[in-house]
C-alpha cells in the first residue's frame, strides 16, 4: 500500500482509486475493440462472431482459411501490391520535399514563416472529402484520375504535414552554426545540407517518412474518388468488402494490419530514443 499524505481523508483515497479505475476502463475501451478481431479472424465459419466451438476452445472451430484467402485471392494480392507501391512512392516524394522545406522553415530568416507553415500543414486539417472532390475536378484536366501518378501525388500532399512536423521537431535541437560553419568553409548549401544537416536529423526524417507512408497506407477517401479498379488499395478493398459482402477475410487483413502497426510503433519508439540521444550529444 502506498503512503497517502496525512491530510487525505477516506474520500480522497476513494477518489484516487475511482480515478485509477476510470483510467483503466478507458484503456480497455481503447484497446479491446482492436484485440477482439484477432481471435475472430481465425474463425472456421464465415461469420463475424464467436461460435460455440470457439468459446469452448475447440481446435476445429479455428482455421487459417481466411488468411489463405488473402494470399490466393487476386483482388487482395493486387490491393496489397498497390498499397505498398503507392505508399512507398508517396512517402519518398513527401519526405524529400518536406525535409528540404523544413530546413528552410527552421531558418530565422525565412520570410512569411507563419503563413507558409499554416499552408503546408493545411492538408492535415481540410476534410478528406473536400480534398477528394477538388482533386477529382482538377486532376481530370491532366488525365491523372485513375492513374498511379495521380494517387501518389495526392497521397504525398497528405503526407507532407507529418514530415514537416517531425523534421521541424528534430531541427529544433539542431545547432544552426554548423550550417554557417559549412558555408564559411566553402561548401555549397546543397553539400552542407547533404553532409552535415541530413546525418544529424536522420531519425526525424525517417519517422516523418513512416508517418507519410502510414497516411497513404491507411487512406481510403481519395482512393474512392481518384483510383480506377486497377489501383484499388487494401483499405479500399476493405471498404467495399464491408459495404457489400462481409467476410472474415477482412478480419484476417485487419489482424495483419494491427501486427504491422505494432511493428511500426516499436520502430518509431527506437527512432525517438535515438533522436533524443543524438540531440543530447549535440
Amino acid at each position: 500500500m502506498r503512503g497517502f499524505p496525512e491530510y487525505f481523508t477516506i474520500w480522497h483515497i476513494a477518489g484516487h482509486y475511482a480515478l485509477r479505475l476510470m483510467a483503466y476502463l478507458v484503456l480497455g475501451f481503447l484497446i479491446l475493440p482492436i484485440l477482439v478481431i484477432i481471435p475472430l479472424s481465425f474463425n472456421a465459419e464465415p461469420f463475424f462472431t464467436f461460435t460455440q466451438g470457439m468459446l469452448a476452445l475447440d481446435p476445429d472451430a479455428y482455421s487459417l482459411r481466411w488468411y489463405e484467402e488473402i494470399v490466393t485471392d487476386q483482388k487482395w494480392t493486387l490491393a496489397i501490391r498497390n498499397s505498398f507501391i503507392i505508399g512507398v512512392a508517396a512517402a519518398i516524394l513527401a519526405t524529400v520535399l518536406g525535409t528540404v522545406a523544413a530546413v528552410g522553415l527552421a531558418s530565422p530568416w525565412m520570410p512569411f514563416k507563419r503563413l507558409i507553415t499554416a499552408l503546408l500543414l493545411s492538408p492535415m486539417i481540410v476534410p478528406l472529402i473536400i480534398i477528394a472532390a477538388g482533386m477529382f475536378f482538377f486532376y481530370t484536366n491532366f488525365g491523372l484520375v485513375g492513374t498511379y501518378p495521380g494517387l501518389i501525388i495526392a497521397h504525398a500532399a497528405l503526407g507532407v504535414p507529418f514530415v514537416i512536423i517531425t523534421v521541424t521537431a528534430t531541427l529544433a535541437g539542431f545547432d544552426r552554426s554548423l550550417f554557417s560553419a559549412g558555408l564559411s568553409l566553402g561548401a555549397s548549401p546543397v553539400k552542407v545540407f547533404w553532409d552535415v544537416v541530413i546525418p544529424l536529423i536522420r531519425p526525424g526524417v525517417i519517422s516523418g517518412g513512416l508517418f507519410a507512408f502510414v497516411t497513404s497506407f491507411d487512406e481510403v477517401v481519395l482512393v474512392l474518388f481518384l483510383a480506377g479498379p486497377e489501383q484499388r488499395t487494401i483499405p479500399r478493398q476493405m471498404f467495399s468488402g464491408l459495404r457489400e459482402q462481409i467476410n472474415p477475410t477482412i478480419l484476417a487483413v485487419a489482424t495483419l494490419l494491427v501486427v504491422l502497426s505494432m511493428a511500426l510503433l516499436v520502430t518509431l519508439e527506437i527512432l525517438r530514443r535515438r533522436s533524443e540521444r543524438l540531440r543530447g550529444a549535440g
Binding site: 477518489g15 482492436i34 462472431t49 528552410g104 522553415l105 531558418s107 476534410p127 483499405p235 477482412i250
Partner: protein, 420 residues
C-alpha cells in the same frame, strides 16, 4: 525592416554605410536561401492541393453544362420577360436543339440540369426528346413550336422555361442557395425552401461532432491525468495502449466496431449471455454506432495533447492547496483545470475539426440517421452527379473548417502540433 535596423545598428557601432550595405545584402541572401529551400514543396502543394481546392470553390459557382448544350436557345430566350409563354421563335429553336441532343444522346444531361431547378421536369424533357428524335428538319424549322406543345403541354407554361434560363446561367450562386436550403423567388428575392435538408444536416453534423468531442473529453481527461501522474516508465507503458489504436488503420477500427455491434455481434452475445436483454439490440447502422466508433477513433487525439500539457504541471500546486485544507474538487477546478486548459482546448478543437469532416465511419456504420455532411457531399459526387451542389456544400464545409482552424491557430498555434 530588419535591414534598416541593421543599418542603424551598424552606424551606431561606428561602422560605415558600406558595412551596413554588406550586412543588409547578407540578410537578403539568407532570406532568399531559406525561401529557395521551401520553394519546391510550395510549388508541389500548390499543384497537388491548393489548385484542387480552388477548382472546387470555382466549380461551386460555375456550371457550363446547359449553356454548352443549348447555346442558341438560351440566346433567343434572353429577350423573354419571364411571364407567359416565350415567343414562337424560342420554342422552335429549342425544338431544333432538343432533336440534335436526342440524336447525340445528351438530352438526358439537359433533363437533369433543368430538373434541378424544377423537380419533376426530367421526364418531360426526356419524353419530348424521344418524340422529336424522328421529326423532319423542315417540319421542325416551320412548326417546331407546335410539335413541342404537342409532345407535352408543360412547354406552354412559363415554369419550365424559367428553369431552363436558370440552368443556362454559367456562373450562379444558385448552388449555394440550395446548399443553404434557400431559393430565388420569381420576384428575385431570396426565400426559404419548403423542406430543410442541408441546414438540418449541417446542424446534425455539428451536434454529433460536439457530442463526440465531449465524450472524448470525459474519457480522455481521467486517462491523461492518470498517465501524467504515473512514473515515467509506467506512463510509457500505458502510452502504448493509446498509440496502438492511434496507429492502427481506421478501416480496422471501424471493422472492429462492426464485429462488436452487429445484431449477432460480440456485445449483443455478451448482453444476452448475462441475461441483460432477451432480444439483440439493433446498434449497428445507427447514429449511436457512428458516435461510439468515432469516439473510439478520435480518443487518442484528445489524450495526446492533454497528456503532454499535464505532464508539465507541477503536482506540488495541488498538494499545496490540499495541505492547506482545500477540498479536492474546488482545488482541482481552481488550480489544476485552468493549468490543463491549453491541452484541453488543443485536443477538443482537434477532435471537433476532424469529426465535422468525417466520412468513412459514418458511411460504414452510420445507416441512414448516422450520416454526416461529408456523406451527402460524396452522394452528390458519386450517385446524383450534381457536382456543383457537392462543390457548394463542400465550400461551406471548408469555410467552417477554416474558421475552426483559425481558432486553433490562435489558441494553440498550428506549428505546435506534436505527434506521438
Amino acid at each position: 525592416m530588419a535591414e534598416t535596423a541593421l543599418a542603424a545598428q551598424a552606424t551606431a557601432s561606428g561602422l560605415g554605410p558600406e558595412d551596413a550595405r554588406n550586412a543588409a545584402r547578407e540578410v537578403r541572401a539568407q532570406r532568399v536561401r531559406a525561401f529557395l529551400f521551401v520553394l519546391p514543396l510550395l510549388a508541389f502543394i500548390f499543384f497537388a492541393f491548393v489548385a484542387p481546392i480552388a477548382s472546387m470553390l470555382f466549380r461551386s459557382a460555375y456550371n457550363p453544362t446547359a449553356a454548352e448544350l443549348v447555346p442558341t436557345t438560351l440566346e433567343a430566350i434572353e429577350s423573354w420577360d419571364g411571364e407567359g409563354r416565350p415567343d414562337e421563335a424560342v420554342l422552335t429553336q429549342f425544338a431544333i436543339d432538343l432533336k440534335r441532343l436526342a440524336n447525340d444522346r445528351t438530352s438526358g444531361q439537359l433533363a437533369e440540369e433543368i430538373n434541378r431547378f424544377l423537380p419533376g421536369t426530367s421526364s418531360v424533357v426526356k419524353s419530348t426528346a424521344r418524340a422529336l428524335r424522328r421529326a423532319e428538319d423542315e417540319t421542325l424549322a416551320t412548326g417546331g413550336a407546335a410539335l413541342l406543345l404537342d409532345a407535352n403541354e408543360a412547354w406552354g407554361e412559363p415554369g419550365i422555361w424559367r428553369a431552363l434560363t436558370q440552368a443556362g446561367q454559367v456562373y450562379s450562386a444558385s448552388y449555394y442557395l440550395t446548399a443553404l436550403d434557400l431559393e430565388m423567388s420569381r420576384e428575385g428575392t431570396i426565400q426559404q425552401r419548403d423542406t430543410q435538408i442541408y441546414l438540418k444536416l449541417y446542424g446534425k453534423t455539428l451536434w454529433m461532432a460536439l457530442i463526440i468531442t465531449l465524450l472524448t473529453l470525459i474519457l480522455g481527461y481521467p486517462l491523461a491525468f492518470h498517465m501524467a501522474h504515473s512514473s515515467t516508465s509506467r506512463a510509457n507503458f500505458l502510452m502504448v495502449f493509446v498509440l496502438l489504436p492511434f496507429w492502427t488503420s481506421l478501416l480496422v477500427r471501424t471493422t472492429s466496431w462492426i464485429a462488436l455491434l452487429q445484431t449477432n455481434g460480440v456485445v449483443n452475445s455478451t448482453l444476452m449471455a448475462l441475461g441483460l436483454t432477451r432480444d439483440p439490440l439493433e446498434m449497428l447502422y445507427t447514429q449511436f454506432s457512428t458516435i461510439i466508433a468515432m469516439t473510439h477513433i478520435l480518443l487518442p487525439f484528445m489524450v495526446l495533447p492533454l497528456y503532454s500539457v499535464m505532464r508539465g504541471i507541477d503536482p506540488s500546486y495541488m498538494r499545496a492547496a490540499m495541505s492547506m485544507g482545500s477540498r479536492p474538487i474546488p482545488a482541482f477546478l481552481r488550480i489544476y483545470l485552468p493549468m490543463s486548459l491549453p491541452g484541453l482546448s488543443a485536443g477538443a478543437l482537434l477532435v471537433f475539426i476532424i469529426s465535422v469532416g468525417y466520412y468513412i465511419t459514418p458511411a460504414l456504420v452510420g445507416g441512414t440517421d448516422g450520416q454526416m455532411i461529408s456523406n451527402i457531399i460524396a452522394f452528390h459526387m458519386q450517385q446524383s452527379n450534381n457536382w456543383e451542389l457537392a462543390a457548394a456544400l463542400g465550400s461551406l464545409l471548408l469555410f467552417l473548417i477554416i474558421a475552426l482552424y483559425w481558432l486553433y491557430d490562435r489558441f494553440v498555434g498550428a506549428g505546435n502540433i506534436k505527434l506521438g
